[in-house]
Subunit: 365 residues, 4 copies
């Protein structure tokens, strides 16, 4: 079965190619009674939009969302919400060269292996433009979660090997949009910009790490043994193009710790149950503890680089070289932040519904 | 919806608690025409069985599998295969002490938060004993895959901070069962054993990294944009108890690399398409490339340790301490190897069916 | 994907063949906090058990259910409930004759067409014995529903062309178990018995109609546009062996009515909204109205008859004849009643959870 | 979980309300390599379009489909196909009167019961306009099936109590579009038209029976025990607005037959296995036999009638009356024919993929 549907109770279906007529999403499972408008969606789309700075692709698109169904007099009705964004600035000519020469690090080769045909005007379905549907759907998930006290913040923790110092949730929220690299540590952010700018000039690119934190998630979310909350978060972030790793809480660092260091002691604080540390990242046994959920995605460097690269000619079946033209982000993490937040929001909304914390029919009771 | 079903076309449902009557699995989606017997399943179960060495729990269970349906005259019939293992050595008395004092790092607290009731005789459903169903189901997946030339090997790459040197697929296969820590680098394996033994004596525990490699996977497996092969692998490994991180190919290391270092150049070799490196770990754009699939899971140290730990009393709602008794592995990765292999096999079998590489009805054509 | 899983949030997986070792079910999605015991399940299994009267097969099995997981100190824990019944009286010798000669009206031919292999000892998976898992799972669904005021009653409305007069819900409940044909109209029941007994002596069999009524279902259940409550009920009953038709409310009769006859007028009665008729059968637009849900299944006559029948020899690929031996019900509807009730209970429990009328985590709040 | 997704491997998600901006569908699971264009979709949409005759609503809409994704150079690429139709002639003023007075036989009351809010401009999501998405998705399913020799024909078998005489598959195909009632028995068709026209003048409406036949379906399709082909067909047709009953083959008539009458004898004919009758309607044990699949839907009379009807006032919570204005079909079956065909096509395409008769990746091999 094809894999363009995500979620069980808050379920999105995304569609669209980078150089087709439009991209979009259908959200099935938004409860009735949530007030929302195109502005709520647009705000998130604007954050992922290209052409915003020197560290992102100069491709410019307005990316205006249109809501086509599921809302009546400004309120969700419980029926599917269909949203789309028209593709306007799609210069496909630049891509003709790559028809038969798969770009290293891209999905060109695997799409042709799988389907026997590929929309070679840009990445087609494998383009990051696909994530518009995720962000639009995630904006609704986020709005829904905010009604239940759940807030989500993402930021670039590391870029080109440069790592930010630890920041609080509120600092992240306050700073993250102040710099095009979306690093809340503003000093480090400047170094990241320098690094990426230098790499771009060399025709190269950088990877990094995106972290997402969710605050206010109640204890008791997650469906063992397979649909653990952390397993679903892993899938959600690993499904974003260019992500090569996922971790929760102490993550890979946990593999080096002793049990006595890793275990978070339970404590009573002001009459409430909490832990005096959060190495678990807010999840034990696949179920939320009530503490912050903290997860990270490792992002590879942009595969489109300016250097000459080795590849093959699929028709001639011989070795050749390729030089990629077109407009590309020299690094992906900054623009991935709203996408990663959207995916986390989708998973949390889905589990809030699955676990009965949100009434799936209606909020009007 | 509850989360004890895994997979779409090769679908398992597992059930059972550590101290209930039995644990088991129903496999729905095994094509007709596969010859198999209890010995095929037992072989894998024996690998995950406790009581095998000083680095694992002394709990001893025969763990004999019984196949109850889905097979006729030694061959699968296309109907569900139900398998179970009776629980025999379940000393629940040792667990009475933990009824009201959630063990740090365990799921005691989250289960009670979620369900309002918990089978406190051991981990109940959150016990590693749950993985018997996964291994039994995975054994069938593995057998099916072997018919199509796919082989899977897992090993402990790192334990207690000690890392093995790189080993080939064949070396891993040859060495991994020679040592109780399942590290194919036998010299390093001895150091790991020393480390873990020392930690056990101190009442502490160690984490590590399990790596699984799949060889012979055809190009074209995976269902973008959400059911990417790597996203499903991530979910599968992250759903195993104690796993805190996942990575594929270069993984987190990819976040430090340059694009020119990360991209795997396509090359023709002896008339076949391949890549001269495999930083991608065998997957691009969520679809297999035909190269080895290489993924890793970060495993936290065993949460059950011998030291006194801080926790709370759920009834009195006050701080208290706990000293965990009972029998426990001082480190999890060695016994996780067959479980991780099983999960990878389940994902690959599912995608081989989903992508049409295996006829879902029958192999008898 | 294979089809042995039913339901979304209250989800059962059934397994087992008529002449295998056992048959069973795993229930995933039963909320924690429901007290139950084997007696609750056994009660329903006893109703579907063969060998109860002259109108059912003389095959005798104790059909004792064993609960293997998901319950602790007499209460559901929110984890999967695995239940099985061992097969004891399975005389497979009688079936050797049918290996190569598919029985008309049975699934012998289609199973071999599909899978290329068939467990020919009896119906295998296509045997009515498969319904044990449904009834066991349905017993839990029913118990859950009863906590929310929902009661379900099934009865044989028609048998061998003889139709019962209309009976009230309470009359049905009171009378249905008083007669082996499970017809609440006791006078008509005797005529049915005569008819079926006569047909059995002629080596023939009879069909009939089973009706199921659910009382106490709240308004607002059902998930348009595809997972309408009536569509899911249709699927549930049509999935029972031998069912050839389904209808809700006025059903096929609705096709002859005028709009002015069919429409149920809404009325206020004692401050509550109701309808002065119930041609809709309790469902409008796929969503429950709060009135009784009334649905019917058309059941074909037992395909196993004593007469000589035309068929083919699959090996020789030529025409031949078959005379079926063994023990068979001369009519199916009486024994189908508990199965049909179970399927309706499964659908309603699933939708009560899907629509948020039941907390999916726990009843202990 | 919300219910706007249908199918497993050929999966559609529909969206849109009668008086919203547009209605549409996303098809996920169409294999790559199928040539198609908007004309293929438009052809089917034109058949369901209103305003075509005196027996259908005078509401006139061009209903031009736009394909937004999933196609490249005239061929499917394996990515989701998004299609929409803009709503143009949506006179919502006529509906203000019904805001608080639920129309008998309509979903007004149940939608408000469920969601607490309702788009009262016409039926909203419960309008037959919703079926545009089904027909558009079904057109692709049909096109796919035709590549594998499967043809589907629907017709009105009965209308207002008047029944057509039996017709062959080819006669149905030839005649069905010759008359606005879509009855292939052209003599009877005229009587149907007279009847319906008379009823319309009286302000009343008629029901009927729609039959759909599928030819060329291979033996071996269907997934016991729950996802039987007939169970899925039942769900598909019962999910269409106004359908109150479903039957396959002999259907309800089977309940009156003897086993010796009902069983279809297997026969060899010209070296091929067939049956000398088809009471089974092409399905045994939930799996196709290779004979024609024949199923029927009982359709209730249009609930919107011109007569004064009793209802309630939801605000005042008291009895009142309603006279429905606006434009409505006096009978539904003629326009339901293409919808029912689409649903059957969707089920068959889904099962052809699920059973491995069609490669889910690509047709280009």
């Amino acid at each position: 079965m094809a894999g363009n549907v995500f979620g069980q109770m808050f379920r999105i279906t995304t569609w669209g190619e980078s150089h087709g007529r439009a991209v979009g999403v259908v959200v099935d499972g938004l409860p009735a009674g949530l007030p929302f408008s195109e502005a709520d969606i647009q705000k998130e789309l604007d954050r992922r939009r290209p052409g915003q700075s020197e560290v992102s692709t100069p491709r410019r698109e307005a990316d205006r969302v249109e809501i086509l169904s599921g809302v009546f007099e400004g309120m969700s009705t419980g029926t599917p919400v269909s949203m789309l964004v028209w593709n306007s600035d799609a210069r496909s000519l630049a891509y003709d060269a790559i028809k038969d020469t798969p770009r290293p690090g891209h999905a060109d080769f695997t799409y042709i292996s799988r389907y026997g045909i590929r929309d070679h005007r840009g990445g087609g379905r494998s383009s990051a433009r696909e994530t518009i549907g995720r962000v639009a759907g995630g904006a609704l998930a986020r709005l829904l979660l905010s009604r239940f006290g759940i807030r989500i913040a993402g930021h670039v923790l590391e870029l080109g090997g440069i790592r930010a110092k630890p920041m609080s949730f509120d600092e992240i929220l306050e700073n993250v949009e102040k710099t095009p690299v979306r690093c809340a540590d503003l000093e480090v952010a400047n170094k990241m910009i320098e690094k990426v700018t230098a790499l771009r000039q060399e025709g190269d690119s950088a990877g990094g790490i995106v972290e997402v934190i969710a605050k206010g998630v109640p204890a008791g979310l997650g469906e063992p043994v397979f649909d653990r909350l952390d397993a679903d978060l892993a899938k959600s972030l690993m499904s974003i193009p260019a992500v090569k790793g996922f971790e929760i809480g102490a993550g890979f660092e946990a593999s080096h710790l002793l049990g006595s260091e890793m275990n978070d002691p339970f404590r009573m604080e002001e009459g409430k149950i909490t832990c005096s540390s959060n190495n678990a990242g807010g999840i034990l046994g696949g179920i939320s503890t009530g503490l912050d959920i903290i997860c990270r995605a490792a992002v590879k460097p942009t595969p489109s680089i300016g250097k000459v690269q080795q590849t093959i000619d699929l028709s001639a079946r011989e070795n050749t070289e390729i030089t990629i033209k077109g407009r590309h982000d020299p690094t992906i993490p900054p623009r991935m932040v709203p996408v990663a937040e959207a995916m986390v929001a989708l998973v949390l909304a889905d589990h809030m519904l699955r676990s009965g914390f949100i009434n799936p029919r209606t909020l009007l009771e």
